[in-house]
């Protein structure tokens, strides 16, 4: 390289044509432009904030929000900081329930699109082609306004089977009620999980030694159930079912969520599942045909072929785009702002409405989503590296 940079004879080009000089000048120039823009905008921002009598720092986080959060007992007098934390928690509640649901639904529909049953395949295709082409916000508003809000009013809820209490404000179902001794039971069940894994490992070794079928899932589950049932009686039956009861407008017992929560969850799961289905379908088709033919040649059943040959290979292909859909799902939870579910975007929006400074709040909001996105990306990269086929 050096021979090219300085031609024979030591004659160097004039500095304005020297690549090394140009590179440095260009970078300094780019840096200067970006800093100048940031500096001018930051200056404007500070001046405008002061002019409108708004704080220029993040001190407002400790002031009372004035935001009310439906059905959470949140005190409007608490600081903005607490309100934002409630928002993050609600966003998280949608993500943690929604992601498994949309994975299952999306995989089922993706497999259904490749079904040999004409009716099933067509139904799945119609689902995907319809839902994928409709804006998610429209689906959310439709599910909330046209389905959830048409349920009975809160003062006269429907109570199917006496197990559920359903109104357009809240949907509640049966839950577990715990009494003294539940802590011990959880501990025993944890032991049961450990035992189940131990049994599974033992069965695997046994199978490797003798060549007989291991049935490790069956044995592991059995071990866990034995532990759980024994623990339940030993600790004096600390768990019972709690059915929701209505008393006027107040619902006691049971476990449930706001109508807006379920609307958001259902709409986003339906929407994102249509994208996941396409990914699953594409990934299965991307598995080389010879693999399926080989599976057929050794007479695997349809289920065995999917479980042991096709899906494990499709999974590797599908993982990065599916994680991308998870990220989209989390970002789309911000659309709850349209139906009044108090996740972090709505809380920030309401705080802005209550006179808290918009630039800082929006910056915090972006930082929250960014933190989440970057965390997931890092985790995915690690996972991807571990799943990568080695040796090719």
């Amino acid at each position: 390289m050096a021979a090219i940079d300085t031609p024979a004879g030591g004659v160097r080009p004039p500095f304005w044509r020297d690549v090394r000089v140009i590179r440095i000048v260009l970078q300094v120039l780019a840096l200067a432009v970006v800093f100048a823009v940031i500096w001018v905008l930051g200056n404007n921002l500070r001046k405008e904030l002061v002019e409108r009598g708004l704080p220029t720092t993040f001190d407002f986080l400790d002031r009372p929000t004035g935001v009310t959060v439906a059905d959470s007992g949140f005190d409007p007098g608490s600081p903005v900081r607490d309100a934002l934390i409630v928002g993050v928690k609600n966003t998280f509640l949608v993500a943690i329930i929604g992601i498994p649901l949309l994975t299952i639904l999306g995989t089922l529909i993706g497999v259904a699109r490749l079904s040999t049953n004409w009716l099933v395949a067509k139904a799945a295709t119609v689902y995907v082609e319809t839902i994928r082409n409709i804006p998610p916000l429209l689906i959310i508003i439709f599910v909330f306004n046209a389905l959830i809000l048409q349920l009975p009013r809160p003062n006269d809820p429907a109570t199917p089977l006496d197990w559920f209490v359903i109104s357009n404000l809240k949907l509640v179902g049966p839950s577990m009620a715990t009494s003294a001794g539940a802590g011990a039971l959880w501990l025993i069940m944890l032991l049961g999980v450990v035992a189940a894994f131990a049994v599974a490992i033992w069965r695997t070794r046994y199978s490797e030694r003798t060549g007989e079928h291991h049935h490790r899932v069956l044995f592991g589950l059995g071990a866990f159930v034995v532990f759980a049932i024994a623990g339940y009686f030993v600790t004096g039956r600390p768990i019972s079912t709690s059915f929701p009861k209505v008393d006027g407008r107040i619902i006691t017992g049971g476990f449930g969520g706001l109508g807006s929560y379920f609307a958001l969850l259902a709409a986003l799961v339906i929407y994102t599942a249509s994208h996941v289905a396409e990914i699953v379908r594409g990934s299965i088709l991307a598995v080389p045909r010879g693999q399926t033919e080989a599976a057929n040649a050794i007479a695997l059943t349809g289920f065995q072929r999917l479980r042991f040959v096709t899906l494990p290979q499709a999974f590797r292909i599908a993982l990065p785009p599916i994680i991308n859909q998870y990220l989209n799902f989390v970002k789309n939870t911000s659309l709850a702002i349209a139906i009044g579910f108090a996740e972090i975007t709505l809380i920030a929006f309401q705080a802005i409405g209550n006179g808290h400074p918009a630039p800082q709040l929006i910056l915090l909001l972006m930082a929250a989503y960014l933190l989440f996105s970057l965390t997931i990306s890092v985790l995915v990269n690690i996972l991807n590296r571990r799943l990568q086929l080695v040796g090719r």
């Binding site: 001046k47 049953n117 319809t130 994928r132 916000l137 439709f142 975007t345 909001l365 970057l374």
Partner: protein, 411 residues
């Protein structure tokens, strides 16, 4: 050669049908079960859907059709919007013909055959749009819009036929047509005391935001993509930071910024309108995604191309402009259409910050005194969804066709 013809079951139509049914619906016991269960569910759903469709009262759509399509565009200025439609039709017709002729010229120069698309296949590709126009016209109260639409169709077809007369210079520079058309459109709708974009609304606004957003974001995205692949570390890091930051946040946060925070960055009383601020936010947001799309295209250009360009002594800028970008951008077209579709759906988000787009029109129409509290969102929202469905469906099909035609991802 003597052959014994095996006894064949005559291939009648009913036998075909029976074989097809057995193969596709009743091949095994669980397939039969699936067919029965799914069939029952589908018949039930269709029954409910038909019942619903027969029972709905579409008065709300009849009354508010203009609100859905054009928002609060002043009624006495609607002629300008029709003028805009005509300009669009003429432009699309001319542009389509110019592209076809361009392809024909190139094919002839390369000594290849060129077959014209038949009008049946065009109708097959664009049937959802025809259906949508027919449905929308079905909700009009007078015959006038139908006549005006027929005139629009006539102008489109006429422009396509007249496109045969376009001089070769224009055909080679077909991109001139959309630019001239856009300027003519804007002058026709907003010029000379017309209606500026702050009063644009309805589905028209969704379309304008999508096209303007992608068009404005493209140059920025291209620069960012080049920056991300630059050999200058500072430029690269700044591009990566910008792209990853914006791709990590939801679009609504950008719109909130446009609606509530962008005003803080501009000193004094010189404030942009809400439309402009949201368009800026959309452009900033989309540019990050476009940058990633373009980067994919840049990566798809084989390294040998750059090396060949260098070996014939092209300067870096010329290598980029003459060798890399033409190939990269060609490969990127289908993915750009995908981005276009995604923005098209996301323009509904402006309804949250109270710009009157189609989705907001569908919502506020149910708050009118004669329609409120009747659960009519179940009528207006599916009607709005139909518009987006048609747009997305046609574009995604066309993008798949283009992908196939360009041979992207087949090498």
């Amino acid at each position: 050669m003597t052959t014994t013809t095996p006894r064949q079951v005559p291939a009648t139509r009913s036998n075909h049908a029976r074989a097809w049914l057995r193969k596709n619906l009743f091949s095994t016991w669980y397939n039969t079960l699936l067919t029965v269960v799914f069939g029952a569910i589908i018949i039930w759903a269709l029954y409910r859907l038909i019942g619903f469709l027969l029972a709905i009262d579409t008065t709300i759509i009849r009354v508010n059709l203009k609100l859905f399509l054009a928002g609060r565009f002043p009624n006495d200025q609607l002629a300008r919007l029709w003028l805009g439609v005509y300009i669009t039709c003429a432009g699309v017709g001319l542009f389509a013909r110019a592209i076809v002729r361009n392809a024909e010229l190139k094919a002839r120069e390369a000594g290849m055959d060129f077959d014209h698309a038949e009008w049946q296949s065009v109708a097959r590709r664009f049937w959802p749009i025809l259906m949508l126009v027919a449905i929308a016209l079905g909700f009009t109260e007078t015959i006038l819009p139908t006549l005006l639409t027929l005139v629009a169709a006539g102008i489109g077809i006429g422009a396509y036929l007249l496109g045969a007369l376009l001089p070769r210079g224009v055909v080679r520079r077909a991109w001139l047509i959309p630019i001239v058309g856009t300027i003519a459109f804007y002058v026709g709708v907003a010029g000379f005391g017309g209606v500026g974009w702050d009063a644009w609304g309805g589905f028209f606004l969704n379309i304008v935001l999508t096209i303007a957003g992608i068009t404005l974001a493209f140059p920025l995205g291209l620069l960012l993509a080049l920056g991300r692949r630059s050999s200058l570390p500072i430029v690269r890091y700044m591009s990566v930071t910008y792209i990853e930051f914006l791709r990590g946040v939801p679009m609504i946060t950008l719109l909130l910024m446009g609606a509530f925070a962008l005003g803080f960055l501009i000193p004094g009383d010189r404030q942009f309108s809400l439309f402009l601020r949201l368009l800026i936010a959309i452009t900033l947001f989309q540019s990050a995604y476009i940058a990633e799309v373009v980067r994919g295209g840049l990566q798809s250009v084989p390294k040998g191309q750059v090396e060949a360009a260098q070996s014939v002594g092209l300067a870096p800028w010329k290598t980029m402009r003459l060798i890399v970008l033409p190939q990269a951008l060609r490969n990127v077209i289908p993915a750009m259409v995908g981005q276009f579709i995604s923005l098209f759906k996301d323009t509904t988000l402006v309804s949250i910050v109270s710009l009157l787009d189609l989705l907001r029109a569908a919502q506020i129409s149910t708050a009118q005194s004669e329609f409120q509290a009747q659960g009519l969102q179940a009528v207006t929202l599916p009607f709005a969804a139909l518009f987006f469905w048609v747009g997305c469906r046609v574009m995604s099909r066309e993008s798949r066709r283009l992908e196939h035609k360009l041979g992207v991802g087949e090498r």
